[in-house]
């Protein structure tokens, strides 16, 4: 019979937990007791007892860690690390500062990205909350971000998987606040909205929400109404001029900024139903949002299929394919697939988020590489220390640990310093990103975790290389002081190349975005927007609009006024030819004010009643798409409202009424009153305060209490490219930081290289080498790195940017010109960085470095 032994694992575990001075006694006793119990009461009892005793021995473990070797060594590492940092404080502080910049940028960008991606997730049921959207296939696929009133009415009755459902629609009103009447967007919703989203009421509640004369408001609105106490009523004026007081039945806490839905004033959807009876029964009258929460076990695809089925039973969709879908609530923020509106605001752009992330990662990688290179060269002075440690018996693992601890120490300092940097740049970034970041945002535990994760990544990224280099060198040469870091190492070189590739990537991006934006802003859209003011009409009463127009024309300085309805969409059908076309109701001044060019025919003439009743002016794209030949004076089969087979009286040259990411689309202009006028353009030479005041007075005379708001048309056009200019700005900052960091890295590498070769340079100088020769000696090898990095960077940039530019109708060419500018920028800066380090060997006094031999 083989000898019975205590369980091996328990024995191992015991050995692990026991402090060394107790091993003999306790382990010995336990083993002896095992034998004793084995002989007396059998194996299973002995084993059970042994395991129990091992478990009870855990109490000795606390004695173990108190005089732990590893812990003592750790203390020693920290102490030595601290002394070394202090000894090389100038060099180290540059090193740490560079890393701090990288960490700060990475931290900032990761907070931004985390925040953007965590949008709307704070609602408890956000995971099973959806919005109804529709895909309509009709001359191409139309993605419609919205639903109708009746869907919100019928779906919950017919689909049991819907837990709660609410309609959500904007309501434009004037709100009477403590500081006067202001335009405000209130929202109409169903009572279920309070079950879908996490509302927190500070007073009152939503129990009387179904009363159409009661509202619930957010705290911020309450504060605007009255300073001291929450008022009982508020006064709203609708856009048809009716003023009414509403009872405030509850006040809730405002939703945080990372919310797509942020209502200020909520009123029951019945309020809408009461005033819009004619819009309640049409299934595909899409003019509001419907959000819903599904039951826990429901499948969104099944529910949307059922919805589509119900929709098709209730409407005639022959000739087109329609499908209802459920868009996850948390996806609304970053998705540009479906439009948002009616109180839902999608502000994020995925590309922008990725760009921020890329810049953050790039900066972190570049600065980590710098840090690694800096550290290696800094620690080279400690080869003797490492050699002594090794002779005294510390293995490679211990030396490795030591340097990891030291690097962790430096990167922790960098983390603290990066907080200071964030303190400075966070307010700037907040303004830029339209967020309210302060340094306290970053001290929130969630983002502190992010910070520490970054810290660990940095320590790993930048710690391994120097630690491996330092722990692994040859003992004898080290102690003789003969070792030097070879700059021939493939790894070292490729790091430099990577840094430059990343910097070049961002620099090229910067140039491309800059040029593309310039191109778009300077692009002639086919009309003249200079000196034109744009206003929105609050009250579409035709008489009022006519009156305001005539009053405005009386103001000196105004040369012309035009009214128009805005771009609308319809389908043109003529036999086989079917396409979507834009149409716009304008007046006779529209074409002259915008200086649109008529290529054939004439402008509208209001003195001819036929022009008003059935005259249209179409653009060239329309002619092309419709395949018309010489259409002026002929009737075309265009139909919209009462406008039936109108006569073409003129052809206008194509102009970009849409932004430059969109193709030139067909357009029909008419005067026939199929739409109310909603916009006014005023052309004037002067835009001074007196003039604006005069305009303001005229406006109020007609539209009071609606305030007078105006925008320069050219400003409005620029805003179309807001996103592009945001991207441009962001890459600009990213590129500048990346170049700065990459140059720091270059300086570090060159500096190390130079210091190691001072003696060689001195001998060369003694033998007659000129500064120019020395310069060339060093420069040539770095030119190669820079060029290889440049090639990689520009290839990557061209590849990615090329596909991005493809969506624009007008786009810059990515050619040698941009490469050349980017090369020039990079090489000039790199040259200066290298030169600053080469100054020393070029002009050193050889005696100084040769003296000791």
């Amino acid at each position: 019979m083989p000898l019975s032994r205590p369980p091996k694992w328990a024995d191992k575990w015991l050995e692990h937990i026991l402090p060394i001075h107790l091993v003999d006694e306790v382990m010995g006793d336990l083993h002896e007791a095992y034998r004793w119990r084995l002989s007396e009461k059998g194996e299973s009892y002995a084993k059970r007892m042994f395991i129990w005793e091992v478990f009870r021995s855990m109490r000795f473990f606390s004695q173990k860690s108190q005089n732990n070797n590893q812990l003592m060594l750790l203390g020693n590492y920290v102490k030595i690390g601290y002394r070394f940092l202090w000894k090389t404080r100038t060099y180290s502080s540059i090193n740490i500062f560079g890393l701090a910049i990288g960490i700060a940028i990475a931290w900032l960008s990761s907070v931004y990205v985390v925040e953007e991606l965590s949008f709307d997730r704070f609602h408890e049921k956000s995971g099973r909350t959806y919005r109804i959207v529709a895909d309509l296939e009709h001359n191409g696929i139309h993605k419609i971000g919205g639903a109708s009133y009746i869907m919100g009415e019928e779906f919950p009755k017919q689909i049991p998987a819907i837990e709660s459902i609410s309609r959500y629609k904007s309501w434009y009103v004037l709100l009477k606040t403590g500081e006067g009447t202001v335009p405000y967007v209130a929202h109409r919703a169903d009572r279920d909205l309070f079950n879908i989203l996490d509302f927190e009421f500070v007073s009152g509640g939503y129990s009387s929400f179904d009363n159409p004369d009661a509202v619930v408001i957010s705290e911020s609105v309450a504060n605007r109404l009255g300073k001291e106490s929450i008022p009982e009523e508020l006064e709203l004026t609708t856009y048809n001029g009716a003023t009414k007081r509403y009872q405030i039945s509850g006040v809730y806490k405002d939703f945080p900024a990372n919310s797509t839905i942020r209502p200020g004033i909520l009123i029951s959807i019945r309020h809408y139903a009461n005033t819009n009876q004619h819009r309640l029964k049409t299934w595909f009258d899409i003019n509001m949002n419907v959000v819903l929460t599904l039951m826990r076990d429901a499948d969104a695809a099944d529910v949307s299929a059922l919805m589509t089925k119900i929709l098709l039973q209730n409407g005639d969709f022959s000739g087109s394919n329609v499908e209802l879908k459920l868009q996850p609530f948390t996806k609304i923020h970053t998705s540009s697939e479906y439009e948002t509106g009616n109180g839902l605001r999608a502000t994020a752009n995925k590309e922008l988020i990725y760009l921020v992330l890329i810049i953050g990662i790039f900066c972190l990688v570049i600065s980590s590489i710098n840090f690694a290179n800096f550290s290696v060269s800094n620690y080279m002075t400690r080869m003797k220390e490492v050699a002594v440690r090794k002779i005294l018996g510390s293995g490679r693992k211990r030396v490795f640990q030591q340097f990891i601890v030291e690097i962790f120490l430096s990167s922790s300092l960098a983390l603290v310093l990066s907080l200071v940097i964030i303190l400075i740049i966070a307010p700037l970034f907040s303004v830029y990103a339209d967020k309210s970041y302060t340094v306290f945002t970053f001290l929130h535990w969630k983002y502190l975790v992010v910070g520490f994760v970054i810290l660990y990544i940095v320590t790993l990224l930048s710690g391994f290389y120097p630690s491996i280099v330092l722990s692994g060198f040859d003992l004898v040469s080290a102690i003789k002081g003969k070792l030097r870091i070879s700059s021939k190492g493939i790894f070292n070189r490729s790091l430099l190349v990577v840094q430059f590739a990343l910097a070049v990537f961002l620099v090229t991006g910067m140039i491309v975005f800059e040029r593309q934006l310039d191109l778009m802003l300077g692009f002639d859209p086919g009309y003249d927007d200079s000196g034109i003011l744009y206003m929105e009409i609050p009250d579409p009463d035709e008489q009022k609009v006519d009156f305001v127009k005539s009053e405005m024309l009386a103001i000196s300085g105004i040369s012309a006024v035009t009214r128009f309805a805005g771009n609308n969409n319809t389908t043109y059908k003529a036999g086989e030819t079917v396409f979507d076309t834009y149409h716009n109701r304008v007046d006779e001044h529209y074409i002259p004010i915008l200086k649109l060019k008529l290529t054939a025919g004439r402008n509208f003439d209001p003195s001819r009643s036929s022009d008003i009743a059935e005259g249209v002016i179409v653009n060239e794209s329309f002619i092309r798409r419709a395949g018309l030949k010489d259409p002026v004076g002929k009737r075309i089969p265009f139909k919209y409202g009462d406008l039936n087979n109108p006569v073409v009286i003129g052809i206008v040259k194509d102009y970009h009424f849409l932004d430059l990411t969109r193709q030139m689309e067909p357009m029909v202009l008419y005067m026939s009153p199929q739409y109310v006028y909603q916009h006014v353009l005023v052309k004037s030479e002067a835009h001074d305060i007196a003039f604006i005041n005069q305009l303001d007075r005229t406006w109020r005379q007609v539209f009071d209490p609606f305030p007078f708001n105006y925008t320069q048309l050219s400003e409005l056009n620029k805003r179309q490219y807001e996103w592009e200019s945001q991207i441009k700005e962001l890459t600009q900052y990213g590129a500048i930081i990346a170049i700065f960091l990459a140059c720091m890295g270059l300086m570090g590498v060159v500096g190390t290289h130079v210091r190691q070769r001072l003696k060689e340079v001195s001998i060369r100088k003694v033998n007659g080498a000129t500064p120019q020769l020395i310069f060339r000696l060093f420069l040539t090898r770095y030119v190669v790195f820079t060029l290889v990095g440049f090639m990689i960077g520009i290839t990557g940039a061209f590849y990615l940017l090329g596909s991005w530019l493809d969506k624009y109708i007008v786009r810059i060419a990515l050619g040698w010109e941009i490469s050349l500018i980017s090369l020039l920028i990079i090489s000039v800066i790199a040259f200066v960085a290298i030169l600053s380090q080469l100054y020393k060997p070029m002009y050193l006094n050889p005696v100084k470095y040769l003296r000791d031999e």
Partner: protein, 111 residues
């Protein structure tokens, strides 16, 4: 002397040490089981021994390694003079109190 107090297990182990002379963990466990007819875990004994040693009632030294211990040394414990005095003192105290307890009579017996 009166400042020292001992837990029940501490006192028992001290008594075992006094009666056995020089001894070690497993032997104490055997004695304990012999006297009280119930098992005891060794770490409990170890902890008590360390505590007694810290208080100065026992002293210890390494003994011989044996095969059944896996070649590990014993640690032999021995009561000190102080330990002896304390045990005597505790026993005297107990006797004094015991003497005041009346003989068991009817009132206990009927319970």
């Amino acid at each position: 002397m009166n400042d020292y107090s001992l837990g029940a297990l501490e006192e028992l182990i001290l008594l075992v040490l006094l009666s056995q002379g020089k001894t070690y963990g497993v032997e104490i466990a055997k004695q304990y089981e012999h006297h009280f007819n119930q098992s005891i875990s060794l770490p409990a004994i170890h902890v008590v021994l360390k505590r007694l040693e810290k208080k100065g009632f026992v002293k210890s030294e390494f003994g011989e390694p044996t095969a059944e211990r896996g070649g590990r040394r014993k640690r032999n414990y021995e009561a000190t003079d102080l330990g002896y005095k304390l045990a005597v003192k505790l026993q005297e105290n107990r006797n004094r109190i015991w003497s005041t307890i009346p003989k068991m009579e009817v009132k206990y017996a009927t319970i």
